[in-house]
């Protein structure tokens, strides 16, 4: 049953990434408000471009997790990503939720993808 549990966790987390990534790619201007000012000033990239970059990255990592490909690396990157977002939000409703997602990703990074994954099938 563990393999099915890991599959469900992986599919759930990848669904979150794919949904948010797609939303950012479809309508980036609705998301620019979330971009911290420090990001635009330090990276010298406008907020819309940052949102699109983030959306593309989340879609890419979402697909990797969906397929179970490079799962540990992908889950680690997304776990750190979510943790940084949660840290910036502080102890708010959204922030706490993101902490939960971050720990989910980090847990998946530790357990690995499980049986039902390309990591397990394709060597």
């Amino acid at each position: 049953m563990t393999s099915y549990g890991l599959l469900i966790i992986r599919l759930g987390l990848s669904g979150v990434l794919l949904w948010f990534g797609a939303q950012q790619l479809i309508d980036p201007l609705s998301w620019v408000g979330y971009v911290p000012d420090i990001a635009t000033t330090t990276l010298l990239v406008d907020a819309k471009t940052l949102v699109l970059m983030n959306g593309a990255a989340e879609v890419a990592f979402g697909l990797l997790l969906l397929l179970g490909l490079f799962t540990r690396i992908s889950a680690t990157v997304m776990g750190v990503h979510l943790a940084l977002i949660a840290l910036s939000l502080g102890l708010t409703a959204v922030g706490v939720r993101d902490w939960g997602l971050a720990f989910g990703f980090l847990g998946l990074a530790l357990t690995g993808p499980g049986h039902w994954s390309l990591d397990n099938i394709v060597r």
């Binding site: 000012d37 699109l52 593309a56």
Partner: protein, 160 residues
């Protein structure tokens, strides 16, 4: 084989990024890209026309005071009246949330659901000036001023 999948996914994500970078702004998002200080920013109206209050019509309530930051309305032929504290106080719900910050009244109703710290964090300060400013400064300092001005709709000057 795994790396072929990886390359494919990277190309797909990069293609989506490049495609959207070149895509024109959608109409639904156009208003958000528009600066709240642009001359065509929608303005709800004068204080007394659309926002009746018990103190409506009082000369002490509606003043001609013009704060340092100009209101958004331009080209109407008449100078917009400043929004008073009592009028501001009528917009005190999550579905109709105005706040005053540094002499300007902002409608942040549409921004509330997207506030990273949840709408509930701001809701108690809807319809206020000093309380909102104090809470805003305590939480964000001046770091998020630009965001407030970008996301809020400038409704006009605030008459303190």
């Amino acid at each position: 084989m795994k790396y072929l999948f990886l390359v494919g996914i990277i190309i797909l994500a990069g293609g989506l990024f490049a495609w959207q970078m070149q895509a024109p702004t959608t109409s639904t998002s156009q208003q958000e890209e528009t600066s709240p200080f642009d001359s065509d920013t929608p303005v709800v109206g004068t204080v007394t026309d659309e926002n009746p209050t018990p103190s409506q019509g009082s000369s002490a309530d509606v003043t001609a005071t013009v704060p340092s930051t100009p209101p958004a309305t331009q080209g109407t032929g008449t100078a917009p009246q400043a929004i008073t504290r009592s009028v501001l106080a009528t917009h005190n719900t999550q579905k109709d949330c105005w706040v005053a910050y540094k002499g300007v009244v902002y409608d942040i109703t549409n921004w509330l659901p997207r506030h990273p710290g949840s709408a509930g964090a701001i809701a108690p300060y809807c319809g206020t000036a000093d309380e909102f400013t104090a809470a805003f400064n305590k939480k964000h300092g001046t770091k998020q001023e630009n965001r407030l001005m970008r996301e809020g709709v400038n409704e006009g000057a605030y008459a303190q």
